[in-house]
């Protein structure tokens, strides 16, 4: 359909620039430091409690790989099973098509309730519905905070993680909810009161899905607050938008993910509520169930043998919480609904346009420290995918000052004698030294010396010493 993929926000600057702004936001820095520090420790405890954590991770990885390798078969199975149980399956090639389908299914409804879902954020569903006069009410507390604050999400699990309690109270006040204090319990109460009537009266609900079982057609949503249960059971019609890759082969496979996901995301043994439904159950829950299967760049991602592992992601957000870059820049710097390490590898692949400068900057938003890989419950080797995508970005960019410098360096390193000449030439940097330090370098060196002294090149490289003493 040729329209841009709304997975990135129009007009977002490239990562380094966006990060510069975020790094100067002192409140943001403090909020993120507090939140990520808390959750890291709790995740470590929750995971440490299971002696078979590594086995579970390996099983999770293998199940997801099997899914990806036979995705066509599992999707067909899923469609058949859902249909057999009274559900209707729809296929959407991209965001625009998915939005159209959902809008059509909303029928006459002017207001719909929504459970937090990354897929619907990715396709910009709320905006598309609003344009057609349908108001989508976010019912997850953090989503509600973002929606009421006319803000953007900054985390895949806790979209308002960049806000602290007093900021949230202000947002609620401005929106006419009136929390008596900034106690989290009181703020949660205010959200409860605000949404109660909508739950009881809405005719249509929209959700995402954490998993869908190909063999049985069962769809699974994990949540905490009960807003999910409200949306999944009370309205007459339920529309679920799900990325293609969320399918798992069998009911038994969930025994792995129902252990991996809660401990990795909210660091609990189990999240408060998990709902499982299969098609339509007469007398219990919605009378109509629609499942929208979303591609929107996923098949393009699947086509990359290295990059496809990003589709194993179960959106737990553990990689965000441990990421030293994310902790400092926050999620909005990534310019996408998928921030952090997973965003850095997933967003550019979903965008699938190597000339999109903002998306191409994301794989560089990492020091490659590997903390993300260490915690990922489905063992996505994020650092390897990052370097892989960097190679693609380099190829797409063609000749640049950097590529010339890199080629020159490679040429120097290709011969020991050229390398030794360069060492001698490089020792000219000694000219910049004052009192045994170099605090300023010209050109590209300036990015280094803006905050760090540079080492003064030695009078004698090691190899000279070796020649004299051991050669």
């Amino acid at each position: 359909m040729g329209t841009r993929n709304p997975v990135t926000w129009l007009g977002s600057p490239a990562f380094p620039e966006a990060a510069r702004t975020a790094l100067a936001d002192t409140q943001l820095r403090r909020n993120l430091r507090n939140a990520t520090t808390t959750i890291r420790g709790r995740r470590r405890d929750a995971v440490g409690e299971l002696p078979d954590w590594e086995q579970l991770r390996r099983a999770g990885e293998a199940i997801k790989d099997d899914v990806l390798h036979h995705l066509d078969r599992y999707l067909e199975q899923l469609e058949e099973a859902v249909t057999a149980r009274g559900g209707v399956v729809h296929w959407a090639r991209d965001a625009a098509e998915a939005n159209e389908i959902v809008l059509r299914l909303c029928g006459d409804a002017r207001e719909v309730v929504k459970v937090k879902s990354m897929a619907t954020q990715e396709i910009g569903l709320n905006e598309a519905l609003a344009e057609a006069g349908v108001h989508a009410v976010e019912t997850d507390l953090a989503e509600l905070i973002v929606q009421l604050g006319d803000d953007r999400p900054s985390h895949i699990l806790v979209p308002a993680i960049h806000r602290n309690r007093s900021e949230i109270r202000e947002i609620f006040r401005a929106a006419g909810l009136d929390p008596a204090s900034d106690e989290p319990r009181v703020l949660a109460e205010a959200a409860r009161a605000h949404l109660r009537r909508k739950f009881l009266s809405c005719e249509v609900a929209i959700s995402g899905a954490n998993f869908a079982v190909a063999g049985t057609g069962s769809v699974v949503v994990l949540e905490s607050e009960g807003n999910g249960r409200m949306c999944l059971t009370l309205p007459r019609k339920l529309i679920t938008v799900m990325g293609l890759e969320k399918v798992v082969p069998t009911w038994q496979d969930l025994e792995v993910f129902l252990q991996l996901l809660p401990r990795s995301s909210t660091a609990e043994r189990m999240n408060p509520y998990t709902s499982v439904w299969t098609g339509v159950t007469p007398g219990d829950g919605p009378e109509e169930f629609h499942l929208v299967l979303l591609d929107n760049g996923r098949t393009a991602t699947l086509a990359d043998p290295v990059g496809r592992q990003a589709l194993r992601c179960i959106r737990c957000s553990a990689c965000l919480n441990v990421c030293p870059v994310y902790e400092r820049t926050g999620g909005q710097s990534y310019g996408s609904v998928y921030p952090g390490p997973i965003g850095a590898i997933l967003t550019p692949q979903l965008v699938d346009d190597p000339h999109d400068k903002q998306a191409a900057s994301l794989p560089y938003a990492s020091s490659l420290c590997g903390a993300c890989f260490e915690v990922c419950p489905v063992r996505i080797d994020i650092p390897s995918v990052l370097t892989h995508l960097r190679a693609q970005a380099v190829e797409a960019k063609g000749r640049s000052a950097e590529s010339v410098a890199m080629a020159a360096a490679a040429w120097v390193f290709a011969s020991a004698s050229r390398y030794e000449k360069a060492q001698k030439l490089g020792s000219l940097a000694r000219l910049f030294a004052r009192d045994g330090r170099i605090s300023w370098l010209p050109g590209p060196g300036a990015a280094w010396t803006s905050s760090r002294d540079a080492p003064v090149p030695a009078r004698e490289p090691f190899r000279e010493w070796w020649r004299k003493n051991r050669g």
Binding site: L75, R93, P184, S224, L234, L254, M270, Y273, T278
Partner: protein, 195 residues
């Protein structure tokens, strides 16, 4: 519509032209675990739910104590007849459910390791809304319903039924990633485990 389906499946097959293979799924993780009343009680209490461990003959008297004088939603097929409370039975509107003081149910399975109870809409549990709208959920678990681990629990469950896994009262971690209880679902969860 058919064309989107065909096109997506075609793209998937194209994307997999390299015929990737993966080793079989290793299932060497722990399958079974302690299925004790004590462990379940400890783990449920950890979520700040109220837990009572009782002997069979004490169930009805205790329920009577807890629910006396209250308007309690009761699903069909509940094994306990509790004196002193007003039992509300389907058909009930959402407004009636919302106005009830609580709901009393059994469960299908409980998971000791994670402190979870699972409802499957069977006898004594009812449709999902019954345990959702009332602000207080009292759930009775029999010892033989306790599974040790998540894998053991899933084995006992039928995915074709509507399932709700409940681990503690409704909660949120959305404010500063700190868990607080009580949002949309029942704010009080009370679990009676029969020894």
């Amino acid at each position: 519509m058919a064309s989107a389906r065909a096109e997506i499946l075609g793209r998937v097959r194209d994307a997999l032209r390299d015929k990737p293979t993966a080793p079989p799924v290793p299932r060497d993780y722990v399958r079974s675990g302690e299925a004790s009343v004590e462990l379940l009680a400890e783990r449920v209490a950890h979520y700040r739910a109220t837990v009572h461990v009782v002997a069979e003959p004490d169930v009805v008297p205790l329920l009577g104590e807890l629910l006396a004088g209250k308007r309690i939603v009761v699903p069909d097929g509940l094994a306990w007849d509790v004196p002193g409370m007003t039992a509300l039975r389907d058909p009930l509107t959402v407004a009636e459910l919302d106005a009830a003081d609580g709901a009393l149910t059994g469960c299908a399975v409980a998971i000791a390791q994670t402190g979870t109870i699972v409802l499957d809409g069977g006898p004594g549990q009812g449709r999902r809304a019954l345990t959702l709208l009332p602000d207080h959920h009292v759930c009775v678990v029999r010892a033989d319903q306790i599974a040790g681990t998540v894998p053991e629990a899933l084995e006992r469950l039928d995915p074709l039924r509507p399932l709700t896994f409940v681990s503690g009262p409704s909660a949120t971690s959305d404010i500063e990633l700190d868990r607080v209880e009580g949002v949309h679902g029942p704010r009080r969860l009370e679990v009676l485990i029969i020894r």
